[in-house]
């Protein structure tokens, strides 16, 4: 299994580029690299099937439409959706959360309602709810996390007693690496009458996520964090919510009939896809899904576990390291700090050794506030990373400690 990284890497042209020789790419929580198959699928679309989908009455346009709708079917199948009309293409996870807020929540939320989020949300699954709460004079309430980065479910239960309208939670934290017990949380939220918006940006790329088994109401994720292209994301919306959802953007493709003084909307999901869509992006995402399915999501998750487990074990042995997040059942993003070295300086040092890690607040400033930090360093893994790369990271950290010793 530890070989997965070695064999898979060959499929990723970026790693074979001499300019990136020796690159240890550990910022996969931000975006992943793309295999040849994904880029080729997009190229094939442009070279052979490109036309404006849903519009032309000629065969080429039919092929373009087919490519786009096939991609939608593939996404639906990948996350276990009951039907493809539950899949709305967006630009990214962020746009998908905003779409839930504008298309659905704006029409159901009432003054005084409660919205539950957690303290570990990415800004993308937080700020839209903050703004929604402001628009409707609703209350935004936070479920905290403990010293091990685990959500405090007793707080969650207490907040559910308020009978909130919405629960927005991430399945896997990009800042702490926590894997949240969302199946159980969804059950409890539903029992309290809430609708659940699940942020799958860090989970869908890394584990099998089945919306039907989870019985989740909305799920959002981004193609670019799962080997797919930039600029394509997904909103899954359970059928039971469709009648309460209204279009947000108006124009071409999203209508069924336009008259002088009124218009009628197209069916789901097209009424939420106004204007010409990112068909090549959807095609690329479908190819990424094929790639992941060929590997098997269980194998992907297993490879994550192997690298994360080994990295945690090695990191723990470093003098002066602080690890944030859970001790066990840790997702593939590891946040840490080395005493006396600002994470930004650390990242610059590691970059000189061709090791790409992230430093900063990881778009989770509430997490940083809670931890009393300005920033952390973060290493995050994916299928093409190897145990040797973890060793390179550890060696790099040791050298950084040595280099910055005089600064302490």
């Amino acid at each position: 299994m530890s070989n997965l990284g070695h064999t898979i890497r060959r499929e990723f042209p970026l790693f074979n580029d001499p300019a990136n020789q020796g690159l240890v790419y550990l910022d996969n929580a931000a975006t992943t690299q793309r295999p040849r198959q994904v880029v080729e699928a997009m190229q094939d679309f442009y070279y052979h099937d490109n036309a404006n989908p849903h519009r032309g009455a000629y065969r080429l346009a039919e092929r373009a439409t087919q490519s786009y709708e096939d991609a939608r079917d593939k996404v639906a199948g990948f996350i276990g959706a009951a039907s493809s009309e539950e899949i709305i293409f967006t630009r990214n996870a962020t746009e998908a959360v905003n779409l839930v807020a504008y298309a659905w929540a704006d029409h159901v939320l009432q003054e005084g309602d409660d919205i539950i989020v957690t303290e570990m949300e990415h800004h993308s699954n937080l700020v839209p709810w903050q703004m929604l709460a402001q628009r409707h004079h609703a209350s935004l309430r936070y479920v905290g996390f403990d010293g091990q980065g685990q959500l405090q479910l007793d707080q969650f239960d207490a907040l559910l007693r308020l009978r909130p309208r919405i629960v927005a939670v991430t399945q896997v934290s990009n800042a702490l690496g926590t894997i949240n017990p969302v199946a159980e949380m969804i059950r409890r939220a539903h029992a309290a009458g809430a609708v659940v918006v699940l942020d799958g940006a860090q989970s869908v790329p890394h584990m099998a996520v089945n919306v039907t088994e989870l019985d989740v109401d909305f799920l959002v994720f981004s193609g670019h964090k799962m080997l797919g292209p930039l600029g394509i994301g997904v909103l899954y919306a359970h059928k039971r919510l469709h009648s309460a959802m209204q279009p947000v953007l108006y124009g071409g493709d999203m209508i069924s009939n336009v008259d002088y003084d009124h218009s009628d909307w197209n069916d789901m999901p097209w009424k939420f896809e106004a204007g010409t869509q990112n068909v090549a992006g959807a095609v690329g995402l479908a190819a990424a899904i094929d790639f992941l399915r060929d590997l098997g999501m269980d194998a992907v998750a297993e490879h994550d576990r192997l690298l994360t487990g080994y990295a945690l074990e090695q990191l723990q042995q470093l003098d002066g390291i602080t690890l944030y997040g859970p001790r066990r059942n840790h997702g593939p993003a590891i946040s840490f700090n080395l005493t006396g070295i600002h994470p930004h300086d650390l990242a610059t040092y590691l970059d000189q050794a061709s090791i790409a890690v992230r430093s900063g607040h990881h778009c989770a400033q509430i997490v940083m506030k809670k931890l009393g930090l300005a920033a952390t360093a973060r290493a995050s893994f994916y299928i093409y990373n190897t145990l040797e790369e973890v060793d390179r990271l550890i060696a790099g950290l040791n050298q950084a400690k040595d280099y910055f010793k005089k600064w302490l």
């Binding site: 600002h342 994470p343 930004h344 300086d345 610059t348 040092y349 000189q352 430093s359 900063g360 607040h361 400033q365 940083m368 930090l373 300005a374 920033a375 280099y403 005089k406 600064w407």
Partner: protein, 158 residues
């Protein structure tokens, strides 16, 4: 190694023993800025009297580059006119982006020149500029306020 060009000894000195660290008791310019990219924060307080910076202090937290830059800056600008400060800020910005210093900076001495290595690290330009951006914005607010007060005054005497 390029890294040594970035982390020069002078920066180390300023990082370890920051000059003018703290908050002025009676400032007439006060501004807080963040670097949203990495979470660094700086609070700058100044006394500007008759167009001259008479006192300055900084507080906050951040990486070596942002902290050393703030320290060096406070040392340099004390006693300068606002006009001189602006010129220096512009040239410092050129320095960290291109590695080349103009005359004002060279007269300013080695401490500013020690930031010439930043240009090799484009992601760190923002760190080096944080204190200076705060300073310029603070001075701008101050000038607006002053114009406003002057206007008020002239109207009052009309």
């Amino acid at each position: 190694m390029a890294l040594d060009q970035l982390y020069q000894e002078i920066l180390l000195d300023h990082y370890k023993q920051p000059r003018n660290k703290g908050v002025l008791v009676d400032p007439n310019v006060r501004l807080e800025l963040k670097n949203p990219f990495c979470g660094d924060e700086i609070l700058l307080t100044l006394r500007v009297d008759d167009g001259v910076v008479t006192d300055v202090a900084f507080s906050g937290h951040g990486c070596v580059i942002s902290q050393a830059s703030a320290s060096v800056m406070t040392e340099k600008i004390k006693g300068m006119t606002v006009q001189q400060v602006k010129q220096m800020a512009e040239q410092f910005s050129d320095l960290v982006k291109t590695g080349h210093a103009e005359t004002v900076l060279r007269e300013g001495g080695d401490d500013l020149d020690a930031f010439s290595g930043v240009c090799e690290f484009p992601t760190r330009v923002k760190c080096a500029m944080l204190a200076w951006r705060t300073l310029l914005q603070g001075l701008e607010h101050h000038e607006h306020q002053h114009h406003y007060l002057d206007d008020e005054k002239s109207r009052a005497t009309d």
